[in-house]
């Protein structure tokens, strides 16, 4: 079947589609609220029909009918396989090594995919305080790979984050091993301008693709570290089918998709 690309779609929809495409069939996925949830729910209708969505708050493999507003939302209980709590999910799913993909976000992301969700400035006298790790620091450590979602702005993409809440490649290819992390690491950053991936040798982020309408130069200008754009191609646009599923099945109430338009 020939893919029919959508003409009319929003940036957030493009990002949700990009997130969905990162998930492979049958994988166990941890998602947070918002875009990752849109992506995981979409994937269950498109490229990863049998992916298993796990919520850190306790629900495992639910059949979502409505977009949850929280990872502990009663909506995440719908036809779930089991429902326990944080202690069980983190120890017997995450720490035990079952988790394939974790979605993460944060206030700052650096060249090695380290995430800051804690504070800007001195930790003891922060200029700005954020909510903190939640489960993201745990997921960053022990998920087999992570996908980061972020607004692409220079201040959000410094060379080094002010505080590592969730470790990426830390300082290079040996960083995780030295820290004592047995596996994992970020594989992509889906931003408002494109998709970044990590160089196999250096584990630094490079521009893998730029969204339609964006130039590689724009991506570099909005990044606080030197961004290799030599390998960049245009992001594959969403198909008509993907957009239809997003709007009609994943978020028909427009909880996230409509809010984003405002």
């Amino acid at each position: 079947m020939v893919k029919k690309y959508a003409e009319d779609y929003k940036l957030l929809e493009l990002m949700a589609v990009a997130a969905a495409r990162e998930i492979r069939d049958g994988e166990i996925v941890f998602t947070g609220t918002g875009l990752p949830m849109l992506g995981a729910m979409l994937a269950q209708h498109t490229n990863a029909l049998n992916c298993i969505i796990v919520f850190e708050a306790g629900a495992i493999d639910c059949k979502l009918a409505h977009l949850p507003m929280s990872v502990g939302d009663p909506r995440t209980m719908r036809f779930a396989s089991t429902a326990t709590g944080l202690f069980d999910v983190f120890s017997t799913v995450l720490q035990r090594g079952f988790l394939d993909v974790g979605f993460l976000g944060g206030a700052q992301i650096d060249a090695y995919g380290n995430i800051n969700a804690t504070c800007i400035g001195n930790y003891h006298h922060p200029k700005v305080r954020f909510p903190g790790s939640g489960g993201s620091g745990d997921i960053a450590c022990l998920s087999k790979r992570t996908i980061i979602i972020a607004v692409h702005e220079k201040r959000r993409f410094p060379e080094r984050v002010d505080y590592i809440t969730s470790p990426g490649w830390i300082d290079g290819p040996q960083g995780r091993k030295r820290a004592g992390l047995p596996w994992g690491g970020p594989s992509a950053i889906i931003t408002t301008l494109g998709v970044l991936r990590f160089d196999e040798r250096k584990k630094r982020a490079y521009l893998a693709s730029y969204h339609p309408g964006v130039t590689p130069k724009q991506a570099q200008e909005n990044t606080g570290f030197r961004l290799d754009v030599s390998r960049a191609k245009e992001t594959e646009p969403p198909t008509e089918a993907e957009i239809k599923i997003l709007r009609e099945k994943v978020d028909p109430e427009g909880i996230f998709l409509k809010k984003a338009e405002e």
């Binding site: 708050a57 009663p74 719908r78 470790p167 004592g180």
Partner: protein, 311 residues
């Protein structure tokens, strides 16, 4: 037996008196779910001070008492109402102006610490947080850590004596008082929670005193017919308070959803209003939880659960 049973069921006002100033406390629930909010209101009305708070993702259950000046220190992982706010506004303000002390862990880290306390062991090993600044930076001062009720160290990283691999050791938490909100408790104190228990089991079982607020109190026979569905045995319980809608504006699975409209009111007021009218309007300005429920009106109580009536 009868007198003991009667003594556990009490009013919110009586139960909140079990929390002295300076107590080390923890509250059940998770971000926008099942926080014991009626109890939180009563703590605020009784003007508790200098509380030491342990939580994983306590949401408004922590943000409101911080705003009301009840909290001196927090050890936690995340303070926000997820999709409803990027950060608890009063928490943010208190950290930025230095009016509380804080220590950061991850969610897994905090539930592990509660679990260690619940199991009666002094510490617990864990494989996450490695490579992060959570491991490298301590929030509490040396002086704070000299308090015998607080662990002398935030954590320790050691090489596992069996594998040699790096591993994080976290100190156990024993709370003076833990307060959770459950769907059902029996008159003797056995607790049943429907849906995810979040960290409630570990938080409850690491407590020196356990207080449970609940939607309903039933006869022990009813819960004992299916003991495998019960979470906490009665002998751990110190106080039971029946408070219908006691988690509002947060969701209580199978009873009511969260209340997005009210959460928006909270976050707007807590963010923008310097004198914080919310506190006067909804907590200090009413005499009890019933008056609060009357004030918010019937539509509010059922929250937001479109087409999910059973959830």
């Amino acid at each position: 037996m009868a007198s003991e049973i009667e003594s556990k069921i009490m009013s919110l006002r009586e139960a909140a008196k079990l929390v002295p100033n300076g107590a080390h406390i923890s509250l059940g629930g998770f971000t926008t779910q099942r926080h014991p909010m009626a109890f939180v209101h009563e703590l605020i009305r009784q003007k508790k001070r200098k509380l030491h708070f342990y939580g994983h993702s306590p949401g408004g259950g922590l943000d409101m008492p911080i705003g009301a000046g009840c909290i001196r220190r927090v050890e936690l992982a995340y303070e926000a109402d997820e999709a409803f706010s990027r950060i608890g506004p009063r928490f943010r303000r208190a950290v930025e102006n230095g009016s509380i002390e804080w220590e950061d862990y991850s969610n897994f880290g905090m539930v592990q610490r509660f679990a260690a306390g619940a199991m009666g062991i002094p510490f617990i090993p864990m494989k996450t947080m490695l490579g992060s600044d959570i491991v490298k930076k301590e929030g509490f001062s040396k002086k704070t850590r000299s308090d015998p009720k607080i662990a002398p160290k935030k954590l320790a990283v050691i090489n596992c004596p069996f594998t040699g691999d790096k591993i994080v050791l976290l100190p156990a938490i024993r709370t003076d008082v833990t307060i959770i909100h459950a769907q059902v408790v029996d008159a003797q104190g056995t607790v049943r929670i429907y849906g995810q228990n979040f960290g409630d089991e570990q938080q409850a079982k690491c407590a020196k005193k356990l207080i449970v607020t609940c939607e309903d109190i039933v006869e022990p026979e009813e819960l004992r017919e299916y003991p495998e569905h019960n979470l906490i045995p009665f002998f751990m319980m110190n106080a039971i308070v029946k408070v219908p809608y006691g988690a509002h504006p947060y969701a209580c699975y199978r009873c009511y959803g969260y209340d997005p409209e009210f959460l928006r009111i909270y976050h707007n007021k807590a963010k923008n209003d310097g004198t914080w009218g919310f506190l006067n309007d909804y907590i200090l300005g009413v005499s009890d939880w019933e008056e609060y429920l009357t004030k918010i009106g019937d539509d509010r109580k059922l929250g937001y659960a479109p087409r999910l009536k059973l959830r």
